[in-house]
């Protein structure tokens, strides 16, 4: 297992290399002049800019040379310049990444908390009314198109009930807290600004719930089935024979073992959350890299799409790697026999 993990870690650079190559090839296969993928139309008749871009990206060179240049730029953190913002894509992404991470983290917390709770109670009260209702709730979450459920929730909770504020990370007139982590919730907490913290959380609540709900089903289903599996094991009978109350049996014994397979699903969940975040951000005008990617896709801002894709794939790969390591760490049988 240890060997497997080392192999996985060594594999990441190769996969990233592959990802970057795919992104390069796609940027080359855009229709027409590759220049049009790098220079916005309105700047096309400015010869200075055109020649500067041509030199930077080696557009006069043959494809293999362009590829080397692309990779060299990428390694130096240069993903090109966005047509929309006219800023380096890397800087755009760096500015917007914290917003996405805050949303995805909150959604992950909500999704796994609800998912584990529902899975746990479903396994404990199997085939009861609760079990069926909870599974229905979870299934609905993973079947709803998030760009629609977000819209409906926004309509219900913001427009009709007025429980939550509208879109965005903050009210229109508020200024964000001093940048420390980039997570508004943590930064406003560190600044001791309670009003701002409340505002941040109330803005975060609805999109994070909508996004988290979409993974509740995956987590709940796995927790339930692996708990039921664990509950049928001999060591559960041993625990009961020791006089352990059902709560202790469930949490200390069954859940401890059931969590090991659940860990593996977290990486998988993360993929769902990235996909969902793109759409959720678009609905909630959340200024993260998801809404950036959607805006870029709508206006065919190729450097921006390529940059987000590479960053997203990197995050995805690292999440899966972290899952594998966590899995090995949680399972004492693997840790020792490594």
């Amino acid at each position: 297992m240890l060997r497997y993990i080392i192999r996985r870690i060594l594999g990441v650079p190769f996969l990233l290399f592959g990802v970057a190559s795919v992104a390069f090839l796609l940027s080359q296969s855009t229709k027409g002049d590759p220049l049009s993928a790098l220079v916005p139309e309105r700047m096309m008749n400015n010869p200075e800019i055109v020649s500067a871009v041509k030199a930077q990206w080696g557009l006069d060179q043959p494809l293999p040379v362009r590829y080397v240049i692309y990779m060299k730029n990428l390694v130096q953190g240069d993903m090109g310049t966005s047509f929309n913002t006219r800023r380096p894509v890397a800087r755009d992404i760096a500015d917007r990444l914290p917003a996405t991470l805050e949303l995805v983290t909150a959604a992950m917390i909500i999704g796994t908390t609800f998912g584990m709770g529902i899975g746990l109670l479903s396994a404990r009260f199997r085939y009861s009314l609760f079990d069926n209702a909870a599974r229905g709730f979870a299934l609905l979450g993973s079947s709803l198109p998030i760009f629609w459920s977000g819209l409906i929730m926004l309509y219900i909770f913001s427009v009709q009930l007025k429980w939550t504020p509208g879109t965005g990370r903050l009210d229109a007139r508020s200024t964000p807290p001093e940048h420390i982590t980039g997570f508004y919730s943590i930064d406003s907490l560190l600044a001791g600004d309670w009003a701002l913290l409340g505002q941040t959380l109330s803005h975060l609540a609805l999109p994070a719930f909508v996004l988290g709900w979409s993974v509740v089903g995956i987590v709940a289903r796995l927790v339930r089935s692996s708990l039921l599996e664990a509950l049928s094991q001999d060591y559960v009978r041993t625990a009961r024979a020791k006089g352990a109350p059902e709560r202790v049996v469930l949490i200390n014994h069954a859940l401890r073992n059931a969590l090991i397979p659940v860990l593996t699903v977290l990486g998988f969940t993360f993929a769902y959350l990235i996909t969902g975040a793109v759409l959720t951000e678009a609905i909630f005008s959340w200024p993260g890299i998801g809404s950036y990617a959607v805006a870029a896709a709508r206006s065919l801002d190729y450097p921006a799409i390529g940059g987000v894709t590479i960053v997203g794939a990197t995050a995805f790969l690292l999440a899966n790697l972290a899952t594998d390591i966590a899995y090995a760490w949680a399972n004492p049988r693997i840790k020792v026999s490594g």
């Binding site: 795919v22 819209l151 996909t275």
Partner: protein
């Protein structure tokens, strides 16, 4: 499959009916929902509905007797548009699943059976493809190819084929070691013949179950791409782009309601059906 003898057709029909009978209630509901949409796709243009592309009444009307799901920002009937939308999303999803299954399975089967450098190339390509979050890869490809439903479909095939390649490869590797295969090889059957006649027929079950489960997800991704603006282009009543229009006319919730429910019904139906099929076929491993 394309058998012309009436008896074979009868047999296929009755085995289909028997299969339906063994599905749990939710699976049966799933089949009926999918059947409804299939019928809608092929026959919707003959239904007595108002033209989905023409103004049918006043703009932004809430649901009423005349317009069951209201009207949109251009005064078009949302109910009619929702039903017509099936003819966009569902055929695309079908095509994507069919091509992804065929291409992925073929590559996976050859990779698994022959191994060597071909296997290495195919599987590393699959690894890289699966390293992308699906929507980002689909967005990048669709953007590179330019907007439009066919291009979005192509993008989704690129996203989905590796899943089936991996699945089929694992199946082939497993079946390859069975005795009847070794016997066939010992008996002098050609490599290609062994693969097609003795191995592949035993490998389909997991692929078909997965394809059923994926169908809803593919439909969802197709709608997502249209929602972003990379799939169907206006004014076509594709579900995702209808929801996108609804999002810009936020207070008229009904514009997005019909297409949203339609997508939900397709996704739920396929996961019901997929679960049911898995319960029937997948009692611990294929066959």
């Amino acid at each position: 499959m394309a058998s012309t003898s009436p008896r074979a057709r009868m047999r296929a029909l009755s085995s289909g009916r028997a299969l339906f009978g063994r599905l749990p209630l939710t699976g049966k509901i799933g089949v009926l929902i999918l059947l409804f949409w299939a019928i809608t796709v092929v026959s919707v243009q003959f239904w007595p509905l108002v033209d989905p592309l023409m103004m049918a009444g006043r703009r932004l009307q809430p649901p009423s007797g005349a317009h069951w799901l209201g009207t949109d920002a251009l005064g078009r009937d949302v109910f009619s548009r929702t039903l017509h939308g099936a003819a966009y999303t569902i055929p695309v999803a079908v095509m994507v699943v069919v091509f992804a299954v065929v291409i992925g399975s073929a590559l996976g089967a050859i990779a698994g059976y022959f191994g060597g450098w071909f296997d290495a190339v195919i599987m590393r390509t699959a690894d890289v493809t699966l390293s992308f979050p699906p929507i980002l890869l689909a967005m990048t490809v669709a953007a590179a190819l330019g907007p439009g439903l066919p291009n979005a479909g192509l993008a989704m095939i690129i996203v989905w084929w590796p899943i089936y390649a991996r699945l089929m490869r694992a199946q082939v590797l497993e079946v390859r070691t069975r005795e009847h295969v070794e016997a066939a090889i010992a008996g002098g059957a050609g490599r290609g013949r062994v693969l097609v006649v003795h191995i592949l027929p035993l490998c389909w079950t997991p692929t078909l179950i997965n394809a059923t489960m994926d169908f809803g997800q593919v439909a969802l991704l197709a709608a997502s791409l249209s929602f972003i603006g990379l799939g169907a282009v206006p004014p076509s009543p594709e579900w995702g782009s209808m929801i996108s229009e609804g999002a810009s006319k936020f207070y008229s919730w009904w514009i997005a309601f019909g297409p949203g429910m339609a997508i939900l019904s397709v996704v739920l139906a396929t996961s019901f059906l997929g679960d049911g099929l898995r319960d029937i076929f997948d009692r611990r491993g294929p066959q």
